[in-house]
């Protein structure tokens, strides 16, 4: 309960910051539009091969947007040492990192809700078989991004080169999740849905997410520092 309350407070604070500055939402929407436009022009001749390239474009656009958001949200907390005041609150650092993961998770779901329609319309690429399966995929991938991303952002922001370090650390660790995200999404673009493949990768993402959460929990006292 304490974790959920803290997560709700962090979300509320991020929304207020966003409302007062408008820094992230505008740039993320612009980024999604630009990335989608550039990718759609670059891959136009291969429109018949949509199932092969669209899942990759879809998830990479999201991952790059996530990295923009992650870095910014952690840097906002380190400005004026606000992170220190948060660390002193009567909540353990483990719970604080879990709250941050949960807050980022909801933020990333919102990002998906903004980016997905843009990309689907620009590529004319709505999933043909079992479009509802996109929901568990989106939920699992975004959780994995939030768990791994929050952990590594906490690590990166304690250095002076966080904006460079975060993608360098994050992308290699995300490779299994990216692979699973692309494979599951690709399955939705074939006329016949391969349930075996779909379930295998969903289970794979679930295990990835559990491991990321456990590692975050164990490392939180060492990473959630001033």
């Amino acid at each position: 309960m304490k974790m959920l309350k803290t997560a709700a407070l962090l979300i509320k604070k991020d929304i207020q910051l966003e409302k007062n500055t408008g820094q992230l939402s505008g740039s993320i929407l612009l980024f999604a539009l630009l990335a989608g436009t550039i990718f759609s022009m670059a891959f136009l001749p291969g429109q018949d091969q949509l199932s092969n390239f669209f899942p990759g474009i879809y998830w990479f656009t999201q991952i790059f947007a996530v990295m923009l958001v992650l870095n910014r949200s952690f840097i906002r907390d380190t400005e004026n040492s606000c992170q220190t005041a948060i660390l002193m609150a009567p909540i353990t650092r483990e719970m604080l990192l879990l709250a941050r993961i949960f807050a980022n998770y909801l933020l990333f779901l919102l990002l998906t809700a903004i980016i997905s329609p843009v990309l689907f319309i620009l590529f004319d690429a709505f999933p043909v078989s079992g479009p509802l399966w996109l929901l568990p995929i989106v939920l699992l991938v975004n959780y994995g991004l939030a768990a791994t991303g929050s952990l590594l952002a906490a690590l990166a922001t304690s250095t002076r080169i966080s904006d460079i370090l975060l993608p360098v650390l994050l992308l290699p660790i995300l490779i299994p999740l990216i692979l699973a995200a692309i494979e599951t999404t690709r399955a939705l673009y074939f006329s016949q849905l391969d349930y075996d493949q779909l379930f295998f990768w969903l289970l794979f993402m679930l295990i990835y997410n559990i491991i990321s959460t456990l590692i975050s929990y164990l490392l939180a006292p060492y990473l959630m520092t001033e």
């Binding site: 803290t6 407070l9 509320k12 604070k13 207020q16 910051l17 007062n20 500055t21 906002r76 400005e79 004026n80 040492s81 606000c82 220190t84 005041a85 948060i86 660390l87 002193m88 609150a89 009567p90 909540i91 353990t92 520092t225 001033e226």
Partner: protein
Amino acid sequence: MIAGKNRISDYKISNLKFSRDGLNIINNISMELSPGQITALFGPNGSGKTTFLKLLAGIWTPDSGEISWLNKSNLKDFNIGYIGHELFLYKDLTARENLEFFGQLYNTNDLNKKIKNLIKEAGLELWLNEPVRKYSRGMQQKLTICRVFLNSPDLLLLDEPFTGLDSKSTNFLIKLITQNKEIPVLFTSHNLRQGFKLADNWLILKAGKIIEYSQKQNNNTLDTFIKNYNKILAGDLLDEDA
């Protein structure tokens, strides 16, 4: 009443040690803080004052030693009010949003009432809904003081709290400290006169060690204290105020 419900009657620090990059910054410090006692910590730059306060606040973890309150050693059981060199405020949030966020994070009761009272005392009513980035430095410091007292602290740790404050803001902080006399206070200062006047106990820290401890009841005068301070720190650069 701003003070928290947990009263620290026996705040003990035993054999605290802390080193960084092979350098011993805090060397085996033991001391006690009690309610109703204001303790000033003096010492030259680099003597370990800020590090010591950060260890007590739970921001950093000591290499060894113990900080405990009535046998509880989990600092999360204490509500520690800490003012450091930074403001701990979101510049893009308004004063009200900042105070609400930190108040809710620290489970503050009667939050709106406390915000209203503190903001009124600080003279910031007209600025309550303005982003903190529009504030002057002094106003931001006042708001930081409000944030600390809002959370009903059990212990106050203030790192050079008067630096950069004008006389009005200084009086505001002193008023809040004296109004909440039951909260133990430990503050660092380079201003010997001001620190001597405000505190009941005085500590002098040098190279991470407490080398002098004196109390008001020992009939110390400011002149003898300054003389003693200069003698103890002979060879170090002294503050102009001294």
